[in-house]
């Protein structure tokens, strides 16, 4: 199946029963697929007048107990920021898909990974961080989508699934999971009418008046740090240099590790699957053989390098091979990594 369509089917199978969205390339297949598929399962689809409206519709539907989702790409994701901040403030679980494209402004509809800082550092005003999952294949898009709502509900917090144009547009075989359904009245806190109750349910975004709100929010993020770090490590045990890449770039890096090893260059790879919380645990046992780390990402400024530096506590140099609008080539990755190992690269990022 095509990545976006497989992901859209997973949205339905994950029990989502509200989708509001606005067209933007390269994620239109999600909106189009759900437009006919959602009514088949008795759910609600609305093509909203804007991403602003869409995210606030999601807030309403999720507050009323439905599994609710919206999707977009870079420019539209920027417009979600307001609503995301309110979802965090109101402790409202929802899922947001960002099929990343390239660039600032209108950018380009082709693949990109330059929403990294937006999804890990942005997400509106306040202390808003979202749990962010970044698949690197069509199958993993489906698998992580099936985990997204349970995670959102575990923390009463929005979750982002960060795909990109390459994964969204590629066609791969995929195993679809069994459909899940949930009862819209399963949670006590959702608005559903106050029949038989003296008090009513109130979903407000002024929880910060609570005496212990600071520790409440910190504890929530702390629990995510402890329980939700996900990553894949490949041949890091004896690596001279460890590549760090997520999403489509990670696929290239897997190939680069294999090619390098054939040449006798010992590369390894850490592939973050959760990028918030960042999988710092993956960097705890870096071997003595490792001289440096190198992020491979389709951003211009090496947006993820900062997280890697934090993860290694600045004990190793962290380089970036940032290809911007182009998908990195595996042989180029090997060449750049070899140059770092041989001391030919001075600048870590720029």
């Amino acid at each position: 199946m095509k990545g976006n369509e497989a992901l859209a089917e997973a949205v339905i199978r994950s029990g989502c029963r509200f989708y509001g969205g606005y067209p933007i390339t390269p994620q239109n297949e999600i909106l189009e697929y759900i437009s006919w598929r959602m009514p088949e399962v008795g759910g609600a689809f609305v093509q909203a007048e804007s991403e602003l409206a869409a995210i606030n519709m999601v807030l309403g539907a999720a507050s009323a107990g439905a599994r609710a989702l919206t999707s977009s790409s870079g420019p539209g994701y920027s417009l979600f920021q307001e609503g995301i901040s309110y979802l965090v403030a109101g402790d409202i679980p929802a899922v947001i898909i960002d099929v990343a494209r390239f660039g600032s402004g209108i950018g380009e509809i082709s693949q990109g990974q330059c929403d990294y800082k937006l999804v890990t550092r942005g997400n509106g005003h306040g202390d808003s961080h979202l749990l962010v999952l970044a698949p690197c294949s069509v199958q993993e898009s489906v698998d992580l989508m099936m985990q997204a709502f349970p995670l959102a509900e575990k923390y009463r917090h929005p979750v982002i699934l960060l795909s990109d144009a390459a994964i969204g547009q590629m066609v791969e075989p995929v195993n679809l999971p069994e459909p899940q359904t949930v009862d819209i009245n399963r949670d006590a806190w959702t608005v559903k009418g106050c029949k038989g109750q003296d008090e009513s349910k109130k979903i407000t975004n002024v929880f910060y008046y609570m005496d212990d709100y600071n520790s409440y929010l910190r504890d929530k993020y702390q629990k995510m740090q402890e329980e939700e770090q996900r990553w894949e490590s490949i041949m890091t045990e004896d690596a001279q240099l460890i590549l760090v890449a997520y999403g489509i770039s990670a696929r290239v890096c897997k190939e680069a590790v294999r090619m390098a090893r054939e040449k006798g260059v010992r590369l390894g790879l850490i592939r973050p699957i959760s990028i918030f919380p960042y999988p710092g645990k993956a960097f705890k046992n870096i071997p003595d053989s490792c001289k440096a780390l190198m992020t491979v990402e389709m951003s211009i400024t090496g947006q993820m390098a900062e997280d890697v530096r934090l993860a290694v506590n600045c004990r190793y140099p962290v380089y970036t091979y940032g290809t911007g609008i182009k998908v990195p080539g595996s042989s180029d990755v090997v060449r750049y990594a070899s140059d770092i190992i041989e001391g030919k690269i001075d600048k870590e990022v720029f």
Binding site: E49, A53, G193, S200
Partner: protein
């Protein structure tokens, strides 16, 4: 005669409306309508922030406090997953006609089956009385200190003119200024809720409301001002969905 507040309205704690504010009356009217229609245990209400968000503290209905200007799309999200339950959005003129105007118009365009109550006091209240799209020409506000005019603030937006061509269930405007008008306003809110129950679609009821603090008038002077001046710019009445008449 016994005058009793609706069962789920509790002014007892937490309310911080200014003396003479129209919100208190509007809240009571909504409460009376929900009780008379026996909808108070089924309804879900979506509020704006600031003054328009404060009803959450004085009633016991299931309520969401939405983002500024977004109660309408938030209410649409609720209604789409709970189509059998009454959903009401309550917001001010700044929310409905300025930052949330697109959302208001598109909900009307879709004829979403919700009720939207807009409390129009012609200013941004909580933030200190700046001009809004419904500020009258010549009105002095904290952001139009010499009086609003076309050059400084543009035209005055009239929601009736804006929505009168749209295929919606109901459009009415009431005024919170005297007993007769308040009774009429309640009738409009009730009719809007009944139209939602009948699956007729989008209803918008605007309530012209005093803001003594920001108008810098006493409550009684505010009432006179609404009767004498505001209603001459914003006529009260039913404009779409009036029973027994062609629209």
């Amino acid at each position: 005669m016994v005058i009793k507040a609706p069962d789920r309205i509790t002014y007892t704690d937490g309310h911080s409306f200014c003396p003479g504010c129209g919100h208190g009356t509007a809240i009571r009217l909504i409460g009376e309508v929900l009780q008379e229609l026996k909808l108070e245990e089924d309804s879900i209400i979506v509020l704006d922030v600031a003054c328009g968000g404060m009803p959450i503290d004085v009633w016991r209905y299931d309520t969401i406090e939405a983002a500024h200007g977004r109660p309408v799309p938030t209410a649409v999200g609720v209604k789409m997953v709970r189509p059998d339950q009454p959903v009401l959005a309550y917001l001010g003129d700044g929310a409905a006609y300025s930052i949330g105007l697109a959302e208001t118009i598109h909900s009307a365009r879709r004829n979403d089956n919700i009720v939207v109550i807009v409390l129009n006091n012609c200013v941004f209240g909580m933030t200190g009385g700046q001009m809004s799209p419904t500020t009258l020409q010549g009105q002095v506000t904290t952001s139009s200190p010499n009086g609003k005019n076309m050059e400084s603030g543009g035209a005055t937006l009239d929601v009736v003119k804006l929505l009168s061509s749209m295929d919606i269930a109901y459009l009415a405007r009431g005024a919170i200024c005297d007993a007769a008008n308040i009774r009429k306003a309640k009738k409009y809110i009730k009719k809007a809720m009944e139209k939602q129950l009948n699956q007729e679609g989008f209803s918008l009821v605007e309530l012209l409301s005093p803001c003594p603090t920001n108008w810098k008038m006493t409550p009684s002077r505010c009432a006179d001002h609404i009767k004498e001046h505001v209603t001459s710019i914003f006529p009260v009445g039913e404009f779409i969905g009036k029973e027994g008449e062609q629209v």
